[in-house]
């Protein structure tokens, strides 16, 4: 092995990598919020008595879960313009990631809702809460508290999967790394730095999720246990 590692070009292009990091965080965070909203909506649709809504959500979840994100990205970025809808790479990436994480999270939220016991709903009715209040404050809150660990690991997977969006021209971290790679041919060096940055981001997001769990869900659970 007579290869000399050179990181100079990578440090010189540090701002490009850093802006890639920011785009990755932005894309992932937005996709998490939109995905969770999709998931809650779909889980609600599944509880209604309208059959077409059941079929629609089941179809959506099964289609997304059984095809690769990469192909979903291609369909949205290359396929939709063919139907007359032109999207910027980052917008297409956000749509692909949101739809993808939404489907996985739907299943998780549904499992959470199933785990809320009937007595809780009856207690809500006894307190004279409206159906909407019961869903929001009793069912959904407890469901999310129960499945939050599963949701957060799904979100970490989303953060890592966002690297695939470089293939449709998004300028997130992998896209930035690819660009530096193509100009300086320091492939291994640039990708090892990018990998470390992803690792740090994954740790950072995990820490944030742990904080959310602790202050939003666990604190209430404990106070409930104490009273």
């Amino acid at each position: 092995m007579n290869y000399s590692f050179q990181f100079r070009e990578i440090w010189q292009n540090w701002p490009e990598l850093l802006s890639g990091v920011l785009t990755t965080i932005e894309l992932s965070a937005l996709a998490m919020v939109i995905g969770l909203s999709i998931a809650v909506a779909c889980a609600m649709f599944r509880r209604t008595s309208m059959q077409p809504l059941h079929w629609l959500t089941t179809g959506y979840v099964e289609l997304i879960r059984n095809t690769p994100l990469l192909v979903q990205g291609f369909l949205i970025f290359f396929g939709l313009p063919w139907l007359g809808l032109h999207l910027k790479p980052d917008v297409a990436a956000l749509i692909a990631l949101s739809l993808n994480v939404g489907a996985y999270t739907t299943e998780i939220v549904r499992a959470g809702l199933d785990s809320v016991s009937r007595g809780q709903i009856e207690a809500g009715q006894a307190l004279g809460l409206t159906r909407w209040q019961i869903f929001l404050k009793v069912e959904l809150f407890q469901a999310l508290a129960a499945v939050f660990p599963a949701i957060s690991s799904q979100f970490i997977l989303l953060l890592l999967a966002s690297s695939l969006m470089s293939t449709i021209g998004s300028t997130e971290l992998t896209g930035a790394a690819n660009d530096i790679q193509s100009r300086f041919f320091r492939s291994f060096e640039v990708y090892i730095v990018a990998t470390m940055l992803y690792f740090v981001m994954a740790l950072g997001f995990s820490a944030i999720f742990a904080l959310i769990e602790r202050y939003l869900f666990q604190a209430r659970r404990l106070s409930r246990g104490a009273s």
């Binding site: 007579n2 095809t67 192909v71 979903q72 970490i156 291994f188 992803y198």
Partner: protein
């Protein structure tokens, strides 16, 4: 530019065999290495446990695409020309080992402690305790989540297209470049993946229900 022909459909269908090949390699290698990781992760030896925890942590906290690039460009550092199939296989195996190792660790840990203690009381050697008592019981618990992971692995093989290995996704890209029918071509590609993955997802749900009933 030419139109999408019947032959394109056939070559897409035939490309599935490369996707299946990659999945089988990833699953076989990942299962072998993953079992070692799971056993190391649950071993008594502290150093071994830390190493396996670290392995799982690193591979689960970095993108598969980066792992693929590092293997692909890492091999060429040694002056060896890189075969995309080899690079894709290696990175899929390493990645699958981390995920399967973590899944199976949970299954091994869910075998009641008393089982291991009973084996010790019967004076079984530690390898006998693992192979005759722990693993057979962990096996049943492990089947449903492992089947779910197989679907994940099949979808992950699509990343091999990025380093130029011609499997289902790459074939779709090539055909799209010639015909410029992205919506049709990638819908077909997605449909082929769906046909491959959905039966497995469906059977995993059945399995889960069967295990839950026991």
């Amino acid at each position: 530019m030419r139109s999408f022909e019947w032959l394109d459909f056939v070559s897409l269908a035939l490309a599935i065999r490369w996707t299946i090949l990659l999945s089988v390699i990833g699953m076989a290698g990942g299962a072998a290495l993953g079992l070692c990781i799971a056993l190391g992760r649950t071993a008594k030896n502290g150093i071994l446990r830390t190493l396996c925890t670290l392995y799982i942590r690193i591979f689960q906290s970095t993108p598969l695409l980066m792992q693929l690039f590092l293997v692909y460009f890492g091999i060429s550092i040694f002056g060896v020309s890189v075969d995309p199939l080899a690079a894709a296989s290696i990175s899929l195996v390493l990645n699958a080992a981390a995920f399967l190792g973590d899944i199976w660790r949970g299954c091994i840990e869910s075998v009641p402690r008393g089982q291991g203690e009973a084996a010790q009381a019967l004076a079984l050697k530690s390898w006998q305790r693992v192979t005759l008592v722990i693993l057979p019981q962990a096996f049943n618990i492990a089947i449903p989540p492992t089947v779910v992971y197989i679907v994940q692995l099949i979808k992950n093989t699509s990343l091999a297209s990025i380093i130029g290995f011609v499997e289902l996704t790459r074939t779709g890209q090539i055909i799209n470049n010639a015909t410029f029918q992205p919506f049709l071509v990638f819908s077909l590609v997605a449909a082929f993946y769906f046909a491959l993955c959905w039966p497995i997802s469906w059977s995993s749900k059945k399995l889960e229900r069967r295990v839950a009933r026991r």
